[in-house]
C-alpha cells in the first residue's frame, strides 16, 4: 500500500497542504470559492507541527493496527478493502474515543456538531493526494511501504 511519507527536513512551512486539503474536501473543490464562503469550508485533515525551523505536516498514518477503528463503538471509523482508514459521519455518535486513542493526534473534533470533523482519506478517488501533489518542495511524498 502507498502511504504518505514526510520529509520534514524539506518542509518549508508554507502550509499549502492544508489549503489544498480543505479545498479538495469542499463541495466546489475550488480554492477561492472554498475559502471565500463560510459554509462550505471543511477542516483540513492535516496537523501542522512547528518547532523552530523544524516544521512538518502530519496526516493519518493509516496504521496497520489502528487504535481508532478498534476504539470506535459504531464502526464509524473503519478500514476499507485497501487498508485505508475512513470515517463515516452518518454512523458517528461523537464519542471522540478515536481522538483519545490516536497516537498521532491527527483526528480533529467537530465541536459544533459533536462529531468527528476531519481525517485524511488519502483523497480517495485521486491517484495522488492533493497535499502530495501540491507540496512545493516534495516534503510530502507518496511511497510504497
Amino acid at each position: 500500500m502507498k502511504k504518505i511519507v514526510i520529509n520534514e527536513e524539506y518542509c518549508i512551512g508554507c502550509r499549502l497542504c492544508e489549503v489544498y486539503c480543505v479545498s479538495q474536501h469542499s463541495k466546489s473543490k475550488d480554492i477561492i470559492k472554498t475559502f471565500k464562503s463560510s459554509e462550505d469550508r471543511p477542516v483540513s485533515g492535516i496537523v501542522f507541527e512547528e518547532n523552530g525551523y523544524t516544521t512538518f505536516a502530519l496526516q493519518c498514518r493509516h496504521c496497520k493496527e489502528s487504535p481508532c477503528t478498534t476504539a470506535c463503538l459504531t464502526s464509524a471509523m473503519y478500514k476499507n478493502n485497501n487498508e485505508i482508514v475512513l470515517h463515516n459521519k452518518e454512523k458517528c455518535v461523537g464519542c471522540w474515543m478515536c481522538i483519545m486513542v490516536c497516537p498521532f493526534g491527527i483526528i480533529k473534533p467537530d465541536l459544533k456538531n459533536k462529531k468527528v470533523a476531519s481525517k485524511c482519506d488519502l483523497c480517495i478517488g485521486r491517484e495522488v493526494p492533493v497535499c502530495v501533489e501540491h507540496c512545493p518542495n516534495e516534503a510530502i511524498v507518496l511511497k510504497e511501504k
Binding site: 518549508i12 508554507c14 480554492i31 475559502f35 525551523y53
Partner: protein
C-alpha cells in the same frame, strides 16, 4: 531633511478578489515583506522590503500576488537616471560601498547576440542527432602534440585493412584528463556563499550527467565526498578548506586568481554565515570572518604562479589536472598564455558577466571585458604561440543558453562553466541580494529556515534537466552544421558569422560578417 524610508524597487500587488488569507506568503518571506496581522485578520505587504525574488508569487495558491517593478520615477533625465540618483541617496545615508550579487546587469553589447551559426544545405548533408551518433565527449587537460608509437611491423592487406592495434605500443604518456560527457560544467560556488543543499544539487546532477562541479573556495563538505569523482576543487587566496585530503579526493585542482564579477577583488564571507558546518569545511573558527585576500599573497608574479601549480601537481603526484582561473581583463591573452607556460593544464577565463555572491556594484559593473572577446583573443594567441594543445580552455561568465555555449565553443573553448544559469535552474530569480544571506529560494543562505527550501533531490533533477536540455540543443545545432563530434566545432570559427559588428570587432572575434561565404 527627511530620510528616505521607503525606497522601493518593487510593488507588491495583491488581488483581494483572489487572496484567501492562507498566509503562505507571510510565512515564507524572509524579508518580512508580507506580515499577517492577527488583530485585523489581514496581510500587510511592505513594498520597501520586497527584493523581487518572486518566491511568494510562485507559491501563492490562487495567483493573487504579482510583484511588479516599481522604480521611483524622478523627472526624466537621460543622464541622471533614478538608479544613479537613488544610489547617491543611499550612499549619502550610509557612507558605504554599494554591494550587489549575481552578474553585471548593465546594457553592454551582447556579442553572442551578434553572432549567428551555420547550417548545411545541399553541398554537405545535415545530420539528425536523434537517429545518428552525435558526440559531445570532451577532455580537459594538456594534450600531447603527437602520439608516439612503437611499431611491430606487419603485413597490410589492402582489402582487409583492419587496424591491428596489437601491433602498436604507445610510448606517449598521456597527461591526466578530465572526461566530460558534455562540454558544460558547473562553476565554482563555495559552500558558504551557497547552501549545502544547493551544492549537493549541483554535485548530484554533475555526477549523474558525467560532468564536473566545482567547490569554489569553501572546502569540500563531508556529505559531498560521494560526489568527489566529479569535483574540481579550488585553491584560492584564502586557502580555505585546503588540505591533502581535499586535493586527493578531487578530479582536478583549480587555482583561483580572479573572478569575472569582481576582478582584482577578494572575497569576504561574514562571520554570521560561518556556522558549525561551514567552519568545519573551511577549517576556520565558528563566527569568524572568512577573508580571501585580493591577490594570493604567495603569488605576486607569473613565476610564483608556476611554483604553486607545481606544488599542487607534486601534492597530487601529477595524477590530476591543475588549472588556473582568471578574470577576463584587458591583458587576458598574454596572462592566459603565461598561465599555460607556467604549466596550467587548463585555463579558465571568467568574463564580466560572471556571477558573484557579493561584490561592490561599481566593480561588478565596470571592470573586466566581455567573455566573447576574451575567448577569441586567448584562443588565437595560444594558437599563434603554438601552445593551444598544451592546455584546455574553459570559459565562464553569463552563458544564458545552449546557443551562447555553442558559439563559445566555436570561438575556441573546450568547455564552459555555468553558474548563474545553474542557480536559476535551482530557483534563483536574480534578485541580486545573495549578500544578505536571506535567499528565499534556499540557495545563497545558511539560515536553516531557508536552506531547507531547496530539496537537493528536486534541485539535482532540475540541474540535470538543464544539462540534458542544453546538450540536446547543442546536438541539434551540431547536426544542422553536418558535424557529428564537438571537437570538429571547437575553434571552428568558419561556422560563425557576425551581424552588425564593426570590422575591428570581427577581426578580434576572428569571424566573418554574415553574407560572406567561406
Amino acid at each position: 531633511m527627511s530620510k528616505s524610508k521607503f525606497r522601493t524597487d518593487f510593488k507588491i500587488v495583491r488581488d483581494m478578489e483572489k487572496c484567501i488569507k492562507c498566509q503562505a506568503c507571510a510565512r515564507v518571506c524572509s524579508n518580512d515583506a508580507h506580515v499577517y496581522d492577527n488583530e485585523s485578520n489581514s496581510i500587510i505587504s511592505y513594498n520597501d522590503k520586497c527584493v523581487g525574488c518572486h518566491f511568494c508569487e510562485d507559491l501563492c495558491p490562487t495567483g493573487a500576488l504579482t510583484i511588479k517593478r516599481n522604480i521611483p520615477e524622478i523627472k526624466f533625465n537621460s543622464h541622471w537616471d533614478s538608479y544613479s540618483v537613488y544610489n547617491i541617496i543611499k550612499q549619502a545615508e550610509t557612507g558605504g560601498v554599494l554591494l550587489t550579487g549575481m552578474g553585471n546587469d548593465k546594457p553592454f553589447k551582447e556579442y553572442f547576440d551578434h553572432i549567428v551559426l551555420n547550417a548545411s544545405q545541399v553541398t554537405n548533408p545535415s545530420i539528425d542527432p536523434l537517429r545518428e551518433p552525435m558526440e559531445l565527449k570532451t577532455f580537459i587537460g594538456k594534450k600531447p602534440d603527437k602520439i608516439e608509437l612503437k611499431y611491430e611491423p606487419y603485413k597490410l592487406e589492402y582489402n582487409k585493412p583492419e587496424l591491428k592495434i596489437i601491433n602498436y605500443k604507445i610510448s606517449t604518456k598521456m597527461p591526466p584528463q578530465l572526461v566530460l560527457e558534455t562540454p558544460i560544467m558547473f562553476s565554482a560556488m563555495s559552500y558558504g556563499s551557497i547552501s549545502l543543499n544547493a551544492q549537493k544539487s549541483l554535485a548530484k546532477a554533475a555526477t549523474e550527467f558525467g560532468t564536473m562541479w566545482n567547490t569554489g573556495e569553501g572546502g569540500l563538505h563531508e556529505d559531498l565526498k560521494p560526489y568527489s569523482k566529479n569535483v574540481i576543487v579550488q585553491v584560492a587566496s584564502g586557502r580555505f578548506g585546503v588540505d591533502i585530503d581535499y586535493l586527493e579526493s578531487a578530479a582536478a585542482v583549480e587555482i583561483k586568481i580572479g573572478q569575472g564579477a569582481k576582478p582584482g577583488i577578494g572575497g569576504h564571507l561574514p562571520g554570521e554565515k560561518v556556522d558549525t558546518e561551514v567552519s568545519k569545511t573551511r577549517f576556520i573558527p565558528i563566527g569568524s570572518d572568512a577573508i580571501s585576500p585580493a591577490p594570493h599573497h604567495d603569488i605576486y608574479s607569473i613565476e610564483d604562479l608556476k611554483q604553486l601549480i607545481y606544488a599542487l601537481k607534486e601534492a597530487t603526484r601529477y595524477q590530476k589536472p591543475v588549472g588556473v582561473k582568471i578574470a577576463a581583463v584587458h591583458n587576458i591573452a598574454p596572462i592566459a598564455t603565461g598561465a599555460v607556460r607556467a604549466g596550467a593544464d587548463f585555463v579558465v577565463i571568467d568574463g564580466m558577466r560572471g556571477g558573484t555572491g557579493a561584490a561592490p556594484t561599481v566593480i561588478r559593473d565596470n571592470v573586466g571585458i566581455p567573455i566573447e572577446l576574451a575567448i577569441a583573443v586567448v584562443d588565437q594567441r595560444l594558437r599563434d604561440e603554438g601552445i593551444r594543445q598544451q592546455a584546455s580552455l574553459i570559459a565562464a561568465g553569463g552563458f544564458r543558453s545552449s546557443a551562447d555555449i555553442i558559439k563559445a565553443i566555436a570561438l575556441g573553448v573546450d568547455a564552459v562553466y555555468i553558474g548563474t544559469s545553474a542557480l536559476i535552474s535551482l530557483g534563483c530569480h536574480l534578485c541580486q541580494k545573495c549578500y544578505t544571506g536571506k535567499c528565499n529560494w534556499g540557495i545563497a543562505t545558511q539560515d536553516p529556515y531557508l536552506t531547507k527550501r531547496l530539496n537537493p533531490e528536486i534541485g539535482a533533477k532540475r540541474a540535470y534537466n538543464l544539462l540534458r536540455a542544453w546538450s540536446l540543443e547543442i546536438k541539434e545545432m551540431l547536426g544542422g552544421m553536418g558535424i557529428n563530434a564537438i571537437e570538429s566545432l571547437r575553434g571552428n570559427r568558419e561556422q560563425l558569422r557576425g551581424v552588425g559588428l564593426s570590422e575591428l570587432e570581427l577581426k578580434l572575434l576572428g569571424i566573418k560578417h554574415a553574407g560572406e561565404a567561406w
